[in-house]
Subunit: 357 residues, 2 copies
């Protein structure tokens, strides 16, 4: 937590500040691996706040996200924006062919010096994938990219937390990925700024578009509370971590944003222009309405929570008294003289002092 | 953390102990929603340790896990074992057809009073899906089920942590799910006690079986260290949380377990008997070798870590001083006078006292 930064990391920081991409890549590894001094490095790198335009993309496997992100990257480059792409795929070892193919297409783009691409599929990180990815996005900000794109697969908690670190969230569905009710249940209505129905030359696309629009209008009328919370998914809890802290009602006076439902065929490039316009339109809305500032503040709070929680975990599991108590108590749990809850209670007293809880 | 339990929860506990399934279902909801007193309830429920035989199933979407789990459930029932099934699918809102179909097939089984089925797709839980699922498994133990099956989709961190709470882990692949190298990269070699190649009437099945066997033999010879760690996946970090704390070398004297690679066609029931035999065989190995006890201890340690980390988070984010500091500091991060790291440092001092770190 101290501003103390090692000589080696100081040298890296200088090359990072000089705009060396190799230094960015090494800085990302430093953060991903949580190597000594990574927090001091991040602190120093973020001292000069820069704000790239961040766009997040999420959707089910096979929705064509990578192809669409590649197409958008080309368009942003044509407009002379530097683009960094973070592709997060916790399940990548399985996905094989299609995804790798897309990634290779993306890598062709990577010969362009204005493009930086990073794949993340880290498991087992102490801070968790979401926290680490958010730090990587911050690094790309700090490095000075004008545009940062983050792509996640799936709609688990991690993916939603990552996408929540973007200014604009594009949710990509395909006719095969299920109906609008499922999208509502997945909490996508809460997170999407733009819906895209990709592969919209396939049967069912028009229906999905129509249903999504209907669902969005229903939501506006707050009819959503009547939707049963199946599968244990509680729509109201979605914003619990404050990723999207702003309340829609607070914006009643200023400009408003009506979530569009676009149709694309990423492989042929159809609809990509419309998507680009929608992203730009949402950006204008964010700035004019003041929502951008609120999102940045909510994001800052999230980042602080990430760091505090990671440090609490590290403090706990490096505490000699805690480790002794854990080691001594585990046999008791197995034999029935303790439970995880009684042992956790003793450990917490050790850590926080018995008065806290 | 105190043994104080409310009158309402005490009544629930009594019906739970009396073996009322409705009480089990309500207890699970209590834990899932982290309602007041859920930890005191868990403490009381776990005071009498019972140990069901836990089998975990994981694999990519579409591998036929649910069908296989349903087939096994029938077999266990034929042997007069009570069976509880927990199906965890963080991505379920997307998966639509196939999974729902399987779930309905499972629900047919649920008319059998010796079967209890629970789906979990909770997002946004404070403790995280893995921690909550492990608590639900503990509840099923405590309720007295002889056999608890847990099924997860995918190979993210959450899924591996959940599956690690089982005594026996069955990894289900299909010819389409990729090759053995991908399975190695996903950390499946570290977690699998039994490999199943399902849909093995399809092209590529024999090849996958052969490759998996080869990979398993290579691993035994420790040739694994030569496998490059692509995608940031670090095989050595897999056991970091101690889910599988036992070291293979420690077992050199006792019985050993050679991970089998089985072939099944779940829909026709082909190979299900072999899988059942393998599960029973692994159980015998676990008991005779003493590995079962080690796994239970590692599991107990994990459970304590879960509870401690959840309580630390709750303590932090309910602490008035912390909330004030967070609120006051967020604007500073956005404007550049603070970073998440400097603010987190102040918050940690507030929480732990400045001497801790």
């Amino acid at each position: 937590m101290t501003p103390g930064i090692s000589t080696e990391n100081q040298a890296l920081l200088e090359r990072f500040r000089a705009g060396k991409k190799v230094a960015l890549a090494r800085a990302i590894s430093l953060v991903e691996d949580e190597r000594p001094g990574f927090q001091a490095f991040l602190h120093a790198a973020l001292e000069t706040p820069r704000f790239s335009k961040r766009v997040g993309f999420t959707g089910p496997p096979g929705a064509g996200k990578s192809t669409l992100v590649a197409a958008l990257t080309r368009e942003f480059r044509d407009r002379s924006e530097d683009v960094a792409v973070v592709a997060v795929d916790p399940t990548s070892p399985y996905s094989g062919g299609a995804l790798l193919g897309d990634r290779i297409r993306m890598n062709d783009l990577a010969t362009d010096p204005g493009i930086f691409i990073r794949s993340m599929a880290t498991r087992g990180s102490l801070g968790g994938l979401a926290a680490t990815t958010r730090e990587v996005l911050d690094l790309m900000d700090a490095f000075g990219f004008q545009r940062v794109l983050v792509e996640t697969v799936g709609v688990g908690q991690t993916e939603l937390e990552i996408t929540g670190a973007a200014d604009t969230v594009v949710v990509i569905l395909v006719p095969e990925s299920g109906d609008a009710i499922q999208a509502m249940k997945a909490g996508l209505m809460e997170i999407a700024d733009i819906f895209v129905v990709n592969k919209s030359d396939r049967p069912g696309a028009d229906r999905l578009v129509k249903d999504l629009r209907l669902a969005l209008h229903l939501r506006e009328g707050e009819a959503l509370k009547d939707v049963p919370a199946h599968h244990g998914v509680d729509l109201k809890r979605m914003g619990a971590r404050g990723d999207r802290g702003e309340s829609e009602s607070e914006e009643a006076q200023g400009p408003t944003w009506e979530i569009p439902v676009l149709q694309t065929v990423a492989h042929s490039g159809e609809g990509v222009d419309d998507l680009l316009d929608a992203v730009a339109g949402h950006r204008a809305y964010l700035e004019e309405s003041g929502v951008l500032l609120k999102r940045r503040e909510a994001r800052a709070a999230d980042r602080v929570r990430d760091v505090v929680e990671r440090e609490l975990r590290k403090t706990a599991w490096n505490h000699p008294g805690v480790l002794r108590a854990l080691e001594a108590g585990v046999a008791g749990i197995v034999s029935g003289t303790e439970t995880p809850y009684s042992l956790a209670g003793s450990i917490l007293s050790e850590l926080l002092g018995s008065g806290t809880k």
